[in-house]
């Protein structure tokens, strides 16, 4: 089930080959949906689902796709899945889907998806592709959650919408940092995570 290669496909994207930190893919949605934790988690799950399923589907039909039109085929598969996820979210978590607005739809253009389909699913079996999709989706979700954690905590004083910074602090002059809610701080937070990550993984440092 989990041969060495499959294990690598599943676990490498979590840290050493992380799509956001190392390949710097999917930055746009990382900036857009991380102002608070809840939409970030939903977005992460949506990407995991779409990525894993599209990886499996493309992997299953990889021998029958003509190479000249493979991008169009991939887009059709991803678009179908994204629309399904979007309808699901609108049906069951309407508020969050409102917050995520166009960004669920924009999963189609997320570089991580096309990257994994092109680089992995076209050359590997469905099970390995499934694990690769789960791994990359998780790697993306982890970063989203870390960024959203700091942005929501420092920007609104809440986590998942619940007040965590006690009233006592506000009474003594503490104030929420409005800049954390603005998109630039998502970039700086991601930069800080990359900074820590590179400092811990010396082999990733380039000169």
């Amino acid at each position: 089930m989990l041969s060495k290669k499959n294990k690598e496909a599943l676990f490498n994207p979590l840290s050493k080959d992380n799509p956001v930190l190392v390949q710097i893919l999917g930055i746009c949605s990382t900036l857009a949906v991380t102002a608070s934790l809840k939409p970030a988690i939903v977005m992460g799950i949506a990407v995991i689902v779409v990525l894993a399923l599209s990886n499996v589907i493309i992997s299953l039909i990889r021998t029958t796709i003509p190479t000249t039109i493979r991008i169009i085929v991939q887009l059709v598969v991803v678009a179908a899945l994204v629309i399904m996820v979007q309808q699901f979210l609108v049906a069951y978590t309407y508020d969050v889907s409102k917050q995520l607005s166009v960004f669920i739809g924009l999963i189609i253009t997320n570089c991580i998806l096309m990257g994994r389909l092109e680089a992995f699913a076209l050359n590997n079996g469905p099970w390995a592709s499934f694990l690769d999709g789960i791994g990359n989706g998780l790697g993306y979700t982890i970063i989203l959650v870390i960024v959203a954690f700091f942005r929501e905590l420092l920007g609104s004083g809440t986590l998942m919408g619940l007040q965590v910074i006690p009233q006592w602090c506000y009474d003594h002059g503490y104030e929420n940092n409005g800049l954390m809610i603005l998109p630039p701080m998502a970039l700086i937070t991601v930069a800080c995570i990359i900074w820590v990550h590179r400092a811990r993984n010396k082999e990733l440092q380039e000169n």
Partner: protein
């Protein structure tokens, strides 16, 4: 200092703190070692001397700022006849904690950074540390100043490689951080005039009709055809008051006189570029003239005549002390004209036509900081092309 030196040399007991020792030694004494050969220009005017000159140029604005804080306070509590010295003392006590916090946080981070990388401590923060209290509203809580200073020093300076490598002006990044992170503290009634007593000094009830809004703050909320700016107790003020500096505002920015004295010091010693400084004022005047020519009540700031535009707000301070920062500004001569002119134009443009920002000088300087390398690049490559054409025509 020489006695304890061996302990800080490699192998000594405190070798880890060598950067700190080195920083203190060169700060207090002239170094014994100088470069012996090479193409260096030997000049006593090193980085430290330059920085100290800028600090001296800032002193008039600083001292007047302290006096003005006291003046505004006593005016607000209805004791405008208080003595000059008690006003100054009150302002000194109000500003001192902010100055201490800015230096301790900024220098602390610089010392730690230098120590981690085993580099010499650079003295770039000497000026930044005094600029920060001058451009931050007096009522900003000290922890906010500390957070903003730490953010600016780390993300605007250290990550780019420290003193001399930063793209953006560090003091202005501090101000911008505060402006966007804690907007309620950076404008409105409670930001610019300190009304409570310090250590028992300046007790009193706030007078009726008190308003702590700066002239530009009043303009931002102004409705109607005729514009009458007032001081903190509702008395009308004139451009002359703004020129002298007895108006509400950030400590360093109010007095045009004090800023012009500083400008004279900077220009006479050759520290600041007169090209940048003059072209900022020219750009500001030009844009203010255009705005005034098309004055409408929709944009209340356009009702001000061009000269008063320059006297109110942080325009003059930004022109003299921020735009002329040699690290973040343009370096070519023609580039400096363009850079300065654009700062002046943008500052007034933002101030007049963007309702969200009562003052545009900070944003204008930061924006042009980003464009300074591009301007230099264009000027240099244009020059190369021109000379190549001339050479081709000759041969």
């Amino acid at each position: 200092m020489d006695k304890i030196k061996p302990q800080f040399q490699p192998g000594g007991r405190l070798a880890k703190l060598q950067s700190v020792y080195d920083g203190m030694e060169t700060f207090l004494f002239t170094p014994n070692t100088t470069s012996a050969s090479g193409t260096h220009i030997h000049d006593g005017n090193d980085l430290k001397r330059t920085m100290i000159t800028v600090v001296v140029a800032l002193l008039p604005a600083l001292l007047f700022g302290m006096y003005n804080i006291g003046y505004q306070h006593y005016l607000a509590v209805g004791q405008a006849d208080a003595s000059c010295w008690s006003m100054f003392l009150y302002g000194l006590l109000a500003m001192l904690p902010c100055i201490v916090v800015s230096y301790v946080v900024g220098l602390g981070i610089e010392f730690i950074g230098a120590q981690i990388h085993h580099k010499e401590i650079q003295e770039g923060f000497l000026v930044t540390g005094i600029l920060i209290p001058l451009i931050v509203p007096i009522n900003t809580p000290l922890w906010m100043v500390a957070v903003a200073t730490a953010f600016a020093v780390i993300f605007a300076k250290e990550v780019f490689g420290g003193t001399g490598m930063n793209i953006f002006n560090v003091a202005l990044i501090t101000r911008a951080f505060l402006f966007f992170a804690y907007p309620s503290r950076m404008s409105g009634d409670a930001a610019f005039v300190k009304t409570d007593a310090i250590l028992g000094l300046g007790e009193g009830q706030v007078a009726d009709g008190f308003t702590g809004a700066t002239p530009l703050g009043q303009i931002a909320t102004h409705v109607g055809d005729t514009l009458q700016l007032t001081d903190v107790v509702g008395q009308p003020i004139t451009t002359c008051d703004a020129f002298m500096g007895l108006i509400a505002g950030s400590p360093g920015e109010t007095s045009m006189v004090a800023i012009l004295i500083g400008a004279a010091i900077l220009l006479l010693t050759g520290i600041a570029s007169w090209r940048v400084m003059c072209s900022v004022f020219v750009g500001g005047l030009a844009m203010a003239g255009v705005a005034h020519a098309f004055a409408t009540p929709t944009y209340a700031a356009s009702l001000l005549d061009p000269l008063s535009q320059l006297c109110y707000g942080g325009f003059a301070f930004a022109a003299v002390f921020m735009a002329t920062d040699p690290v973040t500004g343009a370096r070519t001569r023609i580039g400096q004209y363009i850079y300065g002119f654009m700062i002046g134009v943008l500052a007034i443009l933002i101030r007049v036509y963007n309702g969200g920002y009562p003052e545009g000088a900070m944003l204008a300087v930061l924006l042009m900081n980003a464009f300074a390398p591009l301007i230099d690049h264009c000027v240099v490559s244009f020059n190369i092309k021109r000379r190549a054409r001339r050479a081709a025509a000759k041969s």
